[in-house]
Amino acid sequence: MTSLARGEPVLLGPAGPEPTGLGRFEGDFGGRFVPESLVPALEELEHEFRAAWHSDEFRREFADLLQSYAGRPTPVTECHRLSERLGVRVLLKREDLTHTGSHKINNVLGQALLTRRMSKRRLIAETGAGQHGVATATAAALFGLECIVFMGAVDVERQSLNVFRMRLLGAEVIPVHSGSATLKDAINDALRDWVATVETTHYCIGSVVGPHPYPWMVREFQRVVGDEARTQCRALLGGDPDVVVACVGGGSNAIGTFAGFVDTDARLVGVEAAGLGLESGKHGASVNRGVPGVLHGAKSLFLQDEHGQIREAHSISAGLDYPGVGPEHAALAAAGRAEYACATDHEALDAFQALSVTEGIVPALEPSHALAWVTRAAREGSIAPGSTVLVTLSGRGDKDAMQVAEHLSGDSR
């Protein structure tokens, strides 16, 4: 039996499949749709990542950092009281227990190592909820790199704790006022910065979005979540879980989780933000309601109007407030290998409280959407009673506590 206790060495699984051609996943999703200025840097990054990912030395360094710095492996926790309440056996993959409090650190440590390999001295990042910004600022401090984080002005407001954390870690946080002033616009401004600074700067993208090689590279840095969870589930359950669930904004925790189970019989479910309800038009459900398009360097599914203008997303959770989804999710959806459900703001708030009260674990609002779907699906019988359900708890809820408190005391419910 492989030991996956905390503090034990992190065992990286084998590298996953590369997309074909110029970063294409099934259905032609992916690609490299960027201004010419960025193309050579993306080619360099692709080559560096491929070489690093097949280098024992790089993998050892990455695994060591995940263990000694990020606190991996993270446990899988069985939720006895919640399971009893729902009639299905719920297990949580505890990314909330990593250093900085979310799965974002996995990817960032990988990209920081690559940045050093490419002899670049400056990191830029976009952030929605602030978790990726905090993780990037953390890695920048650890590696002695300059760090600039672009964050929508709306998100700066609703995630002020994370803004303070980033500044404390020595990063500069630049509020972005253009467009919807959320994650999409933060990515736009990060790309604009990068067009000017690409020769000395690495853009540390926080999700499985963006031009090739990002969707592939970020999935590979996040697959440790799924690889660990599969081993842990086999030890706990004697087999794979029946259902594997994760929330999807851009989709990095979900793709990392799915990577460990895509070749098993497990039902894979990504949960998108239904915001105020799919019919309201105010949501972030890009797989459910988006159409094929090209944004931020990749062909995928996006919320857009009839003229191809990108629409603003809405979610109570800043991390899911994005009008698109990573291209590999679009491919998994098209192939029918994963299904994409959604949960509303309201349902997520309920799940946020329910997990806190029944298990003593305060989840972030993002994975609260995954928990909300499990709750509904168990009640409605779309998960059979007694099934085993693995949910990736992608982050902890400290960052959301103030915002939830305001919602619960206000008239918004």
Partner: protein, 258 residues
Amino acid sequence: MKLESHLRERREAGHKLLVPYVTGGLGAGWRDVLRAVAAAGADAIEVGIPFSDPVMDGKTIQEASQRALEIGATPDAIIADLRGIDIDIPIAVMTYYNPVFHAGHERFASALADAGVDAAIIPDLPFDELDGWGDAADRARVETVLLAAPTTPEERLRLICERSRGFVYAVALMGVTGERANLPEQALTMGRRCSKVTDRPVLLGVGISTPEQAVQAAGAADGVVVGSALVRRLLQGGGPDEAGAFVAGLRAALDAAT
């Protein structure tokens, strides 16, 4: 090949080429701006079809795009407005790939051709991703102008210059569109690098905002694209007269220098 042949003709007649950029749909009278700019001595006009997420554009063109979208600009409406416009110089549209992809390559290309638009510039559709659109545009006889950047390596630069139609858009600096105080040395290097590998017209664009900078840049290339400096004047309330005067100033400076 109306854009390219026109620019070649003008170049062979000894002129430096001047291509101003105007955001389409920016106010009800935006076509009067095109007319004024053409009358002031532009050799072709670049018309922006605004997109919600213009990642190659700086603040000025972002603001213009947003303003145009807010007052109802759509790709279809802008293309319809260009149909049969009484301007005797070529028109190229500049937009991002998503509106093109969303409309469909064939449909977008034939809509441009039907409206008499000669060329298209799509800055987030690099050489390697050109296939679908490039073929559709070729079939519709719409010239696709490709961008070359300071970071583009030599062999790739050659391929880009070869595949580009109309002219080669040589990006003058590392960064997004917008006015700059000075023209970097990089711009001149870029103009010379492109001119060395192609006999297609080479126009420097991005960060060229004054007559002095235009003259300087045109010293190393066949001409210039000027966008933000003109659009800023429109955003500040300037109309066709001011736009025309600004372009006339650029024209006079370029002519005086040749």
